[in-house]
């Protein structure tokens, strides 16, 4: 089981308190699709993803960004058992969506960068450490049901 210190819990909650899901979700997914363009393979039904401007303006990208952050919120609310909380979500990504788990880390890194641009100096090294630990647990849980 993952151990969280009181400081880590506070740091992670603190980040979430400042997150505008719409803005951060949209930009994180946009960055992922722009910085790692091969990730577009998973979004064939999203319409125009041909360049950064199109991706940024794409309403399906915006909507999906929110979905992703809502999923992360579930992990936040179940921090002491993310593994089991995410069991069906992991199976969904593996069996239905067939997403290579490498991509979880790519999106995770983009999310971290976007949060850094929003929180700026509030995103201290300790907050970053706690946040990335949280994301690492999420990524691990999402990657579990691959057989």
């Amino acid at each position: 089981m993952v151990e969280w210190t009181a400081e880590e819990r506070a740091a992670i909650q603190g980040v979430f308190n400042k997150l505008d899901y719409e803005s951060v979700g949209r930009e994180s997914l946009t960055r992922c699709l722009v910085v790692y363009p091969w990730t577009r393979r998973y979004f064939g039904g999203f319409g125009n993803l041909f360049n950064a401007e199109a991706i940024m303006a794409n309403p399906k990208v915006a909507a999906h960004g929110i979905v992703v952050l809502q999923g992360l919120e579930k992990a936040l609310k179940n921090m002491d058992d993310i593994k089991n909380t995410y069991a069906s979500l992991s199976e969904f990504h593996s069996v239905k969506l067939q997403v290579d788990p490498v991509n979880f880390q790519l999106l995770s890194d983009c999310l971290t960068v976007v949060i850094a641009t929003r929180l700026r100096t509030e995103f201290t090294p300790d907050v970053q450490a706690a946040w990335q630990k949280f994301l690492a647990v999420v990524v691990s849980a999402l990657s579990r049901q691959y057989h």
Binding site: V34, V35, A116, P125
Partner: protein, 143 residues
């Protein structure tokens, strides 16, 4: 994933903005790396003080970012331009190349923090590619 002319222009343009703060970026990124990825501290066990604001960390951050600046000026031939640095890392320092990506991530986070308006998704892509090519050039002499 070699650097296109557009990538090179983007990196040089960003550097002209962030270059003046290179020392600060380097110190911050290096300090963060040691905190967020504690396994990287294993390379600095001989240092007295590994705290983010400490003098050795700040000094080394400056050294690192200085080298990044040099790489920007040699962006047309990173392998040739970084040959000496690659020899140093390969034979003396022997830092596992996996760590280059880790450091690059932290530099990117700090650039995002300090220059959010300039660090657009497209610039982010070019910078990510630049660091990837820089890492390859640095690892050139490893084996």
């Amino acid at each position: 994933m070699s650097l296109s002319d557009k990538d090179k222009s983007a990196v040089k343009a960003l550097w002209s903005k962030i270059g003046p703060k290179a020392d600060e970026i380097g110190a911050e990124a290096f300090g963060r790396m040691l905190t967020v990825y504690p396994q990287t501290k294993t390379y600095f066990a001989h240092w007295a003080d590994l705290s983010p604001g400490g003098p050795q960390v700040k000094k080394h951050g400056k050294v690192i970012m200085g080298a990044v600046g040099e790489a920007v000026s040699k962006i047309d031939d990173l392998v040739g331009g970084l040959a000496a640095l690659s020899e140093l890392h390969a034979f003396k320092l022997r830092v596992d190349p996996a760590n280059f990506k880790i450091l690059a991530h932290n530099v990117i986070v700090v650039i995002g923090m300090l220059f959010p308006g300039d660090f657009t998704p497209e610039v982010h892509m070019s910078v990510d590619k630049f660091f990837q090519n820089l890492a390859l050039a640095l690892a050139e002499r490893y084996r």
